[in-house]
């Protein structure tokens, strides 16, 4: 949480309070506070904390079932949960299916226009700068998140989107966009963190396109809680929901080290030159391995993958590798 700490072991956020219980665990208290526009607008809505927790827990459980690891450990009370103690990554991840909000304003796209494919944006968490949009390269360059982790986070966000889009559509709702936060534990494993609730997503009625989320509050559209309750009721109405296990595709790109001769590259280079393509200095042949991971629910699978890359997929003496996720 980027939010300011109030005591040594307690952090007051805009809508939540976090108490550190141990190296492994924290308690998260869902308050009734509500804010928008970087806290420019603040209020309290009785019962909102409880409602948010219920919705967030419900969604996290669905994600866990779909094989997406989350910070949730147990529900402690109506307004508190016990979660993993994570270092929250300093970028927020926004997934968009339909143009709305800052996306519409920024690019002049009409609200409600469907995007060709789901789109992921990153926002750096910095209240003073009002959480600005940040380019992926800048995230990496500034050392906020390394490239492979950023890619993993993006792939995870798209997994979440696939699950939610399906889940919400069954309740007659359209998922317009939503925000996620991720954290990493001491071993560097990535978990979905924070809360996922009506506070952090835009949801419209599939028929009427009526807004059912926090936008009601942003634009003073009637009873905020009522909207939240509609989302909850509609999800309840689906009854038991069993999401599809989300696959992850990993691309291992293996490159020959520059200090090692690369006969395949040499021959290819000659071929290119003989074919009349000039201006070539060097050609090197490597390979890619595409791995479809059926179950990536335990973040430790990544450690295993790295180990296999070093021990089998590559010969570290003559090759290097990078991981990509999609």
């Amino acid at each position: 949480m980027n939010d300011s700490p109030s005591t040594k072991n307690t952090y007051e956020g805009k809508a939540k309070t976090v108490e550190v219980l141990s190296d492994e665990k924290v308690r998260i208290i869902f308050t009734d506070r509500i804010s928008a526009g970087d806290g420019a607008k603040l209020d309290t809505i009785p019962g909102k904390g409880k409602m948010n927790l219920t919705l967030s827990n419900r969604l996290m459980e669905v994600l866990e079932e779909a094989g997406i690891p989350t910070h949730l450990l147990e529900r402690e009370s109506e307004t508190t949960i016990i979660a993993r103690n994570l270092r929250i990554l300093p970028v927020e991840v926004v997934v968009r299916n339909i143009a709305a909000g800052s996306f519409s304003r920024r690019y002049g796209v009409k609200e409600g226009e469907e995007l060709a494919q789901p789109f992921v944006e990153f926002f750096v968490k910095d209240d003073k700068l009002h959480d600005p949009l940040i380019d992926r390269d800048v995230v990496v360059q500034m050392g906020l998140v390394p490239r492979d982790k950023l890619e993993l986070v993006q792939a995870r966000a798209l997994q979440v989107n696939r699950v939610f889009t399906d889940y919400f559509s069954r309740g007659g709702m359209v998922l317009v966009d939503f925000k996620l936060e991720f954290g990493e534990d001491k071993e560097g494993h990535i978990w979905l963190a924070d809360e996922i609730s009506a506070d952090s997503m835009r949801v419209w009625d599939a028929q009427t396109m009526e807004k059912l989320d926090k936008d009601r509050f942003r634009k003073d559209l009637g009873d905020v809680l009522a909207g939240y309750k509609v989302i909850m009721d509609r999800l309840d109405g689906i009854g038991g929901y069993s999401p599809e296990k989300q696959r992850m595709e990993v691309v291992v790109t293996i490159e020959p080290k520059h200090s090692v001769t690369n006969p395949g590259g040499e021959v290819t280079k000659r071929t290119l030159l003989n074919s009349g393509m000039g201006g070539i200095k060097d050609v090197r042949l490597g390979k890619t391995v595409n791995i479809t991971v059926e179950d990536s629910s335990d973040p430790k699978w990544l450690d295993k993958l790295n180990q296999i890359c070093k021990e089998i997929l590559t010969n570290p003496m003559v090759e290097t590798y990078t991981l990509g996720f999609r």
């Binding site: 200090s259 090692v260 001769t261 690369n262 006969p263 395949g264 040499e266 021959v267 021990e311 089998i312 997929l313 010969n315 003496m317 003559v318």
Partner: protein
């Protein structure tokens, strides 16, 4: 009588010719599957072929197998020919790596190799020039620095390790190497294919003889 195990991974294809070659020395030789135990073996031969189809890199998957850890721990003499050599380097039991030939084509031909001074059981053949066939796609030895445990170099008929005698681009004409303790030897040429008169050379017998001497202790 000593028992030599010829290890078979899926895709190994020199196992039976190797068994026949070893048996001609009067020792017991048998094919041992990669998922079997090696406790009863006195010597181990890693035969040629295409273990696991040589996907990824030649010998890579076999090199990471359990039996290679058992072999490493066993303390038994080991000879790896062709794919066996590739497996030994992939298992980090012998240094370096075997890259594709500089021609990027498979090469099958008769070569001469000369045994260099070394700390392995092949040292008794030091200075001998042997005529033995090769057949491989990845025999181009490479290491960051010239290795210390060279046992054989490609050479001319007269024992000159000249560049023109190099069939695959191998660093310093290296044809074979040993492990640091000299117990394991890997080489690209196929001694088991130059053991009988009909094969056109019996020079490979000298290599096998030296290996068996080490096995007998």
């Amino acid at each position: 009588m000593s028992t030599i195990g010829v290890i078979r991974f899926p895709g190994t294809n020199n196992e039976w010719e190797t068994v026949r070659a070893l048996q001609s020395f009067g020792v017991e030789a048998k094919v041992v599957e990669h998922n079997q135990q090696i406790d009863d073996l006195d010597g181990i031969w890693l035969a040629g072929g295409f273990s696991y189809g040589d996907v990824l890199r030649a010998g890579a998957i076999a090199g990471a197998s359990r039996i290679m850890k058992d072999i490493s721990r066993s303390g038994r003499p080991v000879l790896g020919a062709c794919n066996g050599f590739q497996i030994l380097t992939e298992a980090d039991l012998i240094e370096g790596a075997l890259l594709p030939n500089t021609t990027t084509r498979f090469v099958c031909k008769w070569i001469y190799m000369t045994i260099t001074e070394n700390d392995s059981y092949l040292n008794e053949l030091q200075g001998s020039t042997l005529r033995i066939p090769i057949a491989h796609f990845e025999g181009n030895f490479w290491s960051e620095s010239t290795p210390e445990n060279i046992v054989a170099k490609y050479s001319t008929r007269d024992g000159d390790a000249a560049p023109r005698a190099n069939p695959n681009g191998s660093m310093d004409n290296i044809a074979g190497l040993s492990s640091n303790d000299g117990r394991m030897v890997g080489m690209m040429p196929h001694p088991e294919r130059s053991c009988f008169k009909h094969q056109g050379s019996t020079d490979g017998r000298k290599i096998i003889q030296a290996f068996l001497k080490e096995v007998h202790g």
